[in-house]
Symmetry: none
Subunit: 226 residues, 2 copies
DNA sequence: TTAATTTGTAATAAATCTGTAACAAATTAA
DNA sequence: TTAATTTGTTACAGATTTATTACAAATTAA
């Protein structure tokens, strides 16, 4: 796990507990004890998910939620709402709150973790798993290492991102345009033929001693991980 | 899913949210925030479905709807109307509006997706599913693979598109003109006899070891998938 | 700074696909 | 039956797409 989670919650004891356990799980965690600061810090932190308390000293959870959905650059940020029992559960359950899931206090950490993973899996599958595997190929995001048959392979940064992208959806064919969009930084223009060269480099690196070819060329369509 | 969806909606936040999620589902999405631009861009984009806001700054959704149904070359474009609560729901429900379905804001993305799929399944089934099957033949769009009796078959790009087209409507006979129009890129002119050659090539590829012929010749009419 | 690595592009080679023409075979009409 | 029409089959040249290589510019590390 290598996602970033932001917590807005006014009870320090809850923050402590949750933060500590999430960090043990490999998440990067930041938090705020009130809504206004939270909204500010959120933007800097760029989390993959927000844990949001329903009752805060300044803004209500629902206000923050609306604010995020409407104004900020985090329109699609997954949000899990934390509520005390009886706190208008029904309203939150409603589809219109813009919340992805909610949890009633007191909750167990494992319960929370399960919800977090479920939501992230839906939104942002790559965040949930730190290690991507396909056949005898292994890629570790944390450590930025790649192995084939347990033998470590050295890749350049672009080759690494390219392989990471293919591993996020093995077997699916991607056009050069799709590859460009997902692997290269935004607003950068490179010749579409350049991809061929990077594919060649990646192939050369991952096909060690007589292992089979893992990248398939699909003429007039693109490439896929077998 | 690989259809194209066009959105005409004046609230950028809704466009963002919907577009992002639809793209994650595999749709190609374009949008416009007003009616007049929308009508123009629509023609270039050639979508498989239109999401249309009921209240727009310039034209009303109903105007756009009428315009599409009467004047344009997209007479049969499926349309899903988005309305705010209370916005003359009854009028929209009426059959005469020319809308295929409608959704009241606020709505959840999953609800929207379900409606989209339902409408597309009705209109344009091939857009909705990645995998087309007929008897012992299987074609996967994402992976660009074809199997007969679970044995993979290699096809050239044109043969693949040709088979994809036949699979979208098995048993239906298509004339050479129809095949040309649907399988070849627009504005390309090829001899109609060329199709015979491609049919021959496709037949050769998919009829592996004594499996039965799957492409039927209908003399003076065209071809069909049995 | 210098050295090493990485990156994008262009050029050329190799592989594969495409459209057409020509003739054969099958079917229909006269 | 023969002639006319339609489809099947083949081969091939040209077109398109991808692979590979080399190199200079850019970036990063030492």
């Amino acid at each position: 796990m290598n996602g970033k989670i932001f917590i807005i919650e006014d009870e320090p004891s809850i923050i402590q507990l949750v933060q500590h356990n999430l960090e043990k799980e490999g998440f990067l965690v930041a938090s705020s004890t009130n809504g206004n600061d939270g909204l500010k810090d959120l933007k800097k932190f760029e989390p993959n998910l927000l844990l949001l308390d329903w009752m805060l000293p300044d803004l209500s959870g629902i206000d923050i939620c609306k604010n995020i959905r409407n104004n900020s650059s985090h329109k699609n940020l997954p949000i899990i709402m934390l509520t005390a029992k009886g706190e208008e559960e029904d309203k939150i359950k409603g589809l219109d709150s813009g919340v992805d899931d909610y949890l009633t206090k007191p909750f167990s950490f494992n319960e929370l973790l399960a919800r977090i993973k479920a939501v992230l899996r839906r939104y942002d599958p790559k965040v949930v798993s730190n290690s991507l595997e396909f056949e005898d190929l292994k890629l570790n995001r944390f450590e930025k290492r790649v192995f084939r048959k347990n033998i470590e392979i050295q890749l350049g940064p672009t080759e690494f991102r390219l392989l990471e992208f293919f591993l996020s959806n093995p077997k699916r064919v991607y056009s050069r345009d799709q590859i460009l969009e997902n692997v290269w930084p935004n607003n950068i223009n490179v010749e579409s033929r350049t991809i061929d060269v990077h594919i060649r480099r990646l192939r050369k690196s991952i096909n060690i001693d007589k292992t089979k070819e893992l990248i398939r060329t699909v003429r007039s369509s693109g490439y896929s991980l077998i």
